[in-house]
Structure formats: structure tokens, C-alpha cells
């Protein structure tokens, strides 16, 4: 064969990389884009919480208001009104005014502005979910890749440790961890985690899901190690580090990215549940879970207090799941990643 082969008619184009392909697929997925828009709105609203508190509600999320009055539709009303229901005993907080201003979503039983607390609580909920996801993914990726890449004894030891973590029901593990951590400050290097710190739910949530993420990553790495292109790299004389860096990690990264939105959704739910059980965010800090707990006693008279954070959680988690499915379909159409 010589160089006389006529050149094929060639379209002058740079080949589209896998990332560009994924981005193109994601842009076509309207449900995922809509979900992303919802998420960005929620995120922006929560980030703007101090603006809302200063300029709209004129209060902060911690200010109680047991004896105050506000003016609604020209009439003056107590924030905590004498109950008119049942025996007429006790106080009922004011319900939603549905007007931009103080107590748009009503007050809780300490006279705090629910709308302001909802936005501040959203900040905490989102921050905890995000930080826990980062913690979990970093540790799980490291463990999964090391176990899968080195195999043998390393894999056996790491996998058994993961099994032990896995064997605990998540909430039991989370509750025990939090009780230990609340009673005794945890020292990790220069960081000290004391009870009441936001780091507490972050560590708890981050840790309990490590096996659920590390295991699929380990399995994926093992599959890749057996693939023919890794054998080919060995045959070319590539060093193990080169194989890890060039052939394994780039193929694992997509799998990790697929996990992110799904992890966030899951973490939101766990965070709310832990906070509802008083072992997550500690009062007076708010999170969507603690607000639900605050609203529990007012469920009949003022359902808005519990419903507002409940709806916020439902919408956020739904949007995260839809967006996560879109990301998965775009990046890794063949995978069936699932957590929990």
C-alpha cells in the first residue's frame, strides 16, 4: 500500500468531545432545564434571605415577637392572638397575610416570621446537603478508586469496612453518630465540631452514604481495569499511575458527576429528617426540617408553618431528581445509577 490512496472527502470539523456531546444532550432535555431553572430560583431566593429580612419582612429569623401587633388591611392585629378555637385558651400565631411584608406566611408560636425563617432555613438545608455531598463524594471516590485499582487485600479490607457502615440502618447510624457528637465535641485535626455546629449534620450525612457511592465506583473501576483498553495500556508499557490517570479516572468522573444531583436530593431529605428529630440543625438556627417541627403543634390551626418548608423540600427534591436524571441521560446513557 502506498500513499496514492485518494483522500476521503473530509468535513473540516473538530471532533466533538464527550463533554460537548453530553452538554448538547442536556440542552435538548427540556424537563432537566426547567428543573435546573427551578433550582436556581430556589438557590437565589435562599441566598437573598438577608435582603428579604431587611427590606420586606423587616425582621430577622431569630426575633421573637410575643406581644407585638401588626397592621393588616388597615386593622391592627396581635401577632399572637388569643385562641378563638376550642376552649379559647392559649395563643394562636397570626396566619399568612399573603402580602409582601411582615408575616407573609404567618408567624410561628414564638412570633417569628415564617417566611424569613423559611429562606434562612433553606440556606442551611442547601448548604448542609451540598457540603455533605462533597464530603461523601470525595471520600467515597477515594475509597472506591483505591479499592478497585489496587484490588486484593486493599480491596478486601476497604470493602469490609464499607460493609460495616452499610449494615447499619441509615437513621440508626445517623442518630447514634449525632448523639455521640452532640455529647462530645469531635476533633478532626484543627477542626472542632461541637454540638449545634452545622458541621455536625454535614459529617453525619456525608458519612452514612459513603458506602452507597463508594461501592458502585469500586465496581466501575474493577470493570475498567479488566477492559481491553487497560490491557492495551499495560501492553504499551504504561505505568500504573499513568493508567489510573489516563484510563481510569476520566472514565470514573462522569459516574461521579451523575451522583451529585441525586446525592443532593437524598441529603436534603435526610437533613430534614434529622433536623425534625432535633439531631440535625440545632435551635435557634433554622432549617426546613426544624421549621416543620415548629409547625407540628400548629398543624390544625396554622398549617402554613409546616406546609411551607414541606413544599419547599418537595419541590427542591423533585427538581433535583429530574435534573439528575437529565444529567445521567446526558453523560452516561447506559447507566442505571441509583442510591439508597
Amino acid at each position: 500500500m502506498t500513499d496514492t490512496t485518494p483522500p476521503l472527502p473530509e468535513k473540516a470539523r473538530a471532533a466533538e468531545g464527550p463533554w460537548a456531546t453530553a452538554w448538547r444532550r442536556l440542552k435538548r432535555d427540556r424537563a432537566a432545564l426547567a428543573a435546573l431553572a427551578v433550582l436556581l430560583v430556589i438557590l437565589a431566593a435562599c441566598l437573598a434571605a438577608p435582603l428579604y429580612a431587611t427590606y420586606v419582612s423587616g425582621t430577622n429569623p431569630f426575633a421573637t415577637n410575643l406581644n407585638g401587633t401588626i397592621t393588616v388591611d388597615g386593622k391592627s392585629r396581635d401577632v399572637l392572638e388569643a385562641s378563638t378555637e376550642g376552649l379559647g385558651l392559649g395563643l394562636t400565631p397570626i396566619g399568612p397575610t399573603w402580602q409582601l411584608g411582615p408575616y407573609m406566611l404567618g408567624a410561628d408560636n414564638q412570633g417569628r416570621d415564617v417566611a424569613a425563617r423559611l429562606l434562612y432555613g433553606g440556606r442551611n438545608s442547601l448548604f448542609i446537603a451540598g457540603a455533605a455531598a462533597v464530603l461523601c463524594l470525595v471520600v467515597a471516590t477515594f475509597v472506591g478508586v483505591v479499592a478497585g485499582f489496587f484490588g486484593g487485600l486493599v480491596d478486601t479490607v476497604l470493602s469490609r469496612i464499607l460493609d460495616v457502615l452499610w449494615a447499619f440502618p441509615i437513621f440508626l447510624l445517623a442518630i447514634s453518630l449525632s448523639i455521640v457528637l452532640i455529647s462530645q465535641p469531635l476533633l478532626i485535626g484543627p477542626f472542632e465540631i461541637r454540638s449545634g455546629s452545622l458541621a455536625l449534620p454535614i459529617v453525619i450525612i456525608g458519612v452514612v452514604y459513603i458506602p452507597y457511592v463508594a461501592r458502585p465506583i469500586r465496581n466501575h473501576v474493577i470493570t475498567l481495569m479488566k477492559s481491553e483498553f487497560v490491557t492495551a495500556a499495560v501492553g504499551l508499557g504504561a505505568s500504573p499511575w499513568r493508567i489510573l490517570w489516563v484510563d481510569i479516572l476520566p472514565n470514573v468522573v462522569t459516574r461521579i458527576i451523575v451522583f451529585v444531583p441525586l446525592m443532593l436530593a437524598l441529603n436534603m431529605i435526610i437533613e430534614s429528617a434529622l433536623s425534625f428529630l432535633s439531631i440535625g440543625v440545632q435551635p435557634p438556627d433554622a432549617s426546613w426540617g426544624t421549621i416543620i417541627q415548629d409547625g407540628q403543634g400548629l398543624l390544625y390551626s396554622r398549617p402554613a408553618v409546616a406546609l411551607a418548608p414541606g413544599i419547599a423540600i418537595a419541590v427542591t427534591v423533585l427538581a433535583l431528581n429530574i435534573f439528575g436524571d437529565g444529567v445521567r441521560d446526558a453523560l452516561d446513557p447506559k447507566s442505571t445509577v441509583r442510591i439508597g
Binding site: 500500500m1 490512496t5 483522500p7 473538530a14 483498553f229 492495551a232 508499557g237 504504561a238 500504573p240 476520566p250
Partner: protein, 326 residues
């Protein structure tokens, strides 16, 4: 022959453990390659043929040290590399390369062809970094692809083109030995001839030595000087390719050859030898000659004693108690 063989395998065996029984007594093993001895002289092409499951690919991977060798020895240019560590093998990889069966699986789907082809140069620091793009372009041209293809990803190519990329990568550093493991069996028949011709051209040009593994006798016949016929992990007959295929002496070789379709109606066909039964499980190979369960000439001797691979006096070797007449 006085020259040192490029590659010499002596009683090479590869055993895979099956299952994970804790008790040694319950452990089972498949002997995929059973005491294979062969030599590859510089410049020659040794074909290895046999039906699927006979251990051809396992043998190929053992010869490349891509899997551990259970027993026996393997020498490359007179150096014993049977137990060489992965680190010690790395510099030697420059001299011995492999072309894989499935070109799609052997190319990392997330890397551009240019990156895949610059690997050999980078790994072995074979040239200045600045020179790499030119070397890659030259490689692509040599396998009848275009330098522009370096920017593409493997999935944008046809099977034949992917195999050209695999061949380019294997030959980038002009190795002495190339083991081609069924390099054309995943391709369309029309493409197969092109790839075999490309391999043959490159052999002339670069003075390569091939171990060419295939199940297609006509492909092996086209490219090989010498051939080794494998059955159930063992070599049963070796010799010059024309002699082995025109006058096979082992009954298995004869049966294999008679299974090749003859695309001419007016040529008298050789008598068809039809083997009955299946390939016995390598988990539980038959005693004696491994072929006796399907051999038309088997006798009590064959059932009792395994024939050794002995020189046949014509530059080949044969493992049979009752060979066909020469």
C-alpha cells in the same frame, strides 16, 4: 538453525482458578494453555490456529506477559522473562507489542486518536515532545488514515479504521515482535483482506516478526510461514504452513482443513472429515490424548497415554500416536 529465537516458550501452561472454594480439595481449575512449547525465529510469522476455546488467546496474552504464566518458561531474545515483574517488563514492551481482537474495546473511548497514538512515544520517551504530532501524523498516513483524524474519537471510525489505529499504535515504536490476537475476526470479510495486506506490508517494511492468532485458516495461510495447530490448550501439530495445510498429519488438522469451504464448484473437494461431539470441557480434560474423544483413529493407546510433541523430521512437530501418512 543457529540463530536465537526471538521468542521461545517451553512447556508453557496457564491455569485459571474457577470459583472461590476455600478448601483446596474443592478448588477447580481450567487449564487454558497446557505445556505449549514453541519458538518464533526473527523475521518469520507463526500462525496459531484452533477452534474457539482452545486457548489461542490465552497463549497470546501469556506470550505478551499480559497475564501470569502458571508454569513453564518464556524467553525473549534469550532472556528469561517468565517471572519478570510488571516494572521490569515495561522497558521490554517497546520490543513486543500486541494487536487486539476487538479494536473498539482496545481504544479508550474518551481519548482522541492523536492522544492514543502519542502514548507509545510518551510512555517510552521515544522522541521530543515537540516531534510527537509529526510522528502521529506519519503513523496515521502509514496505515492509510489522514493526519486530520488525530482530532477525532475512536467511535467516529469504522471497525476496519479502528483496527488500523490499533495497528498504528502497536507499530509506533517499531517493535521486534507483534502478537496479533485475531486481528481481523471482528471485521467484515471485505475489510479483512485489507488489514491482512497492511500487516504484511508493514512486516516487509519494518522487518517485523508476527505471532498471528486466528481461527480462519485461509487468513493464517495468507500471512504465515509456519503454523501451530492448537487443540484444547495444547499444540498438536506445527510445521511450514503449506505442508501442514496441504498434507496434514494430525487427524485434527485434517479435520480442520476439510472444514474450510472451497469456493469453486468444479474442483474436486477433499473428503470431509466431520468430527462428532463437542470440544471437551477444559475443566475436565480427557485423559491420554486430548483429542481421542473425537478422533476417528483413536485406539486404546490414545486413551491411556498422552502423545508428546516430537519433531517430524520435516521442520515441524507432531503430537499423535497414529499420524496420517505424509
Amino acid at each position: 538453525m543457529t540463530a536465537t529465537p526471538l521468542l521461545r516458550a517451553t512447556e508453557l501452561s496457564k491455569t485459571y482458578r474457577v470459583g472461590r472454594a476455600l478448601l483446596p480439595a474443592r478448588r477447580r481449575a481450567v487449564q487454558a494453555v497446557s505445556e505449549v512449547s514453541l519458538e518464533v525465529m526473527p523475521g518469520e510469522t507463526l500462525g496459531i490456529v484452533g477452534e474457539s476455546g482452545c486457548g489461542k488467546s490465552s497463549l497470546g496474552r501469556c506470550l505478551m506477559k499480559l497475564q501470569d504464566i502458571t508454569s513453564g518458561t518464556l524467553e525473549f531474545e534469550g532472556r528469561d522473562i517468565t517471572r519478570a515483574s510488571a516494572a521490569r517488563m515495561r522497558p521490554l514492551r517497546r520490543e513486543m507489542q500486541m494487536v487486539f481482537q476487538d479494536p473498539a474495546a482496545s481504544l479508550n473511548p474518551r481519548r482522541r486518536v492523536g492522544d492514543l497514538l502519542s502514548d507509545p512515544f510518551r510512555i517510552h520517551a521515544a522522541c521530543d515532545r515537540a516531534e510527537i504530532p509529526d510522528r502521529v501524523a506519519a503513523l496515521l498516513r502509514r496505515v492509510d488514515l489522514l493526519p486530520e483524524h488525530a482530532m477525532r474519537f475512536p467511535h467516529e471510525f469504522s471497525g476496519g479504521q479502528k483496527q488500523r489505529i490499533g495497528i498504528a499504535r502497536a507499530l509506533a515504536l517499531r517493535p521486534k515482535l507483534v502478537v496479533a490476537d485475531e486481528p481481523v475476526s471482528a471485521l467484515d470479510v471485505s475489510i479483512q483482506a485489507q488489514i491482512v495486506n497492511l500487516l504484511a506490508d508493514l512486516r516487509e517494511e519494518l522487518g517485523l516478526t508476527y505471532v498471528f492468532i486466528a481461527h480462519d485458516l485461509s487468513v493464517v495461510r495468507q500471512i504465515s510461514n509456519r503454523v501451530a495447530v492448537m487443540y484444547l490448550g495444547s499444540v498438536v501439530e506445527t510445521g511450514p504452513v503449506d505442508r501442514v495445510f496441504s498434507a496434514p498429519r494430525h487427524p485434527y488438522t485434517a479435520a480442520l482443513r476439510s472444514a474450510v469451504p472451497v469456493p469453486k464448484l468444479d474442483v474436486p473437494r477433499p473428503a470431509r472429515t466431520i468430527l462428532s461431539g463437542d470440544l471437551p470441557s477444559p475443566l475436565n480434560p480427557p485423559p491420554g490424548c486430548r483429542f481421542h474423544t473425537r478422533c476417528p483413529r483413536a485406539t486404546a493407546l490414545c486413551r491411556a497415554e498422552r502423545p508428546a510433541l516430537l519433531p517430524d523430521g520435516q521442520g515441524g512437530a507432531l503430537a499423535c500416536h497414529h499420524p496420517l501418512e505424509a
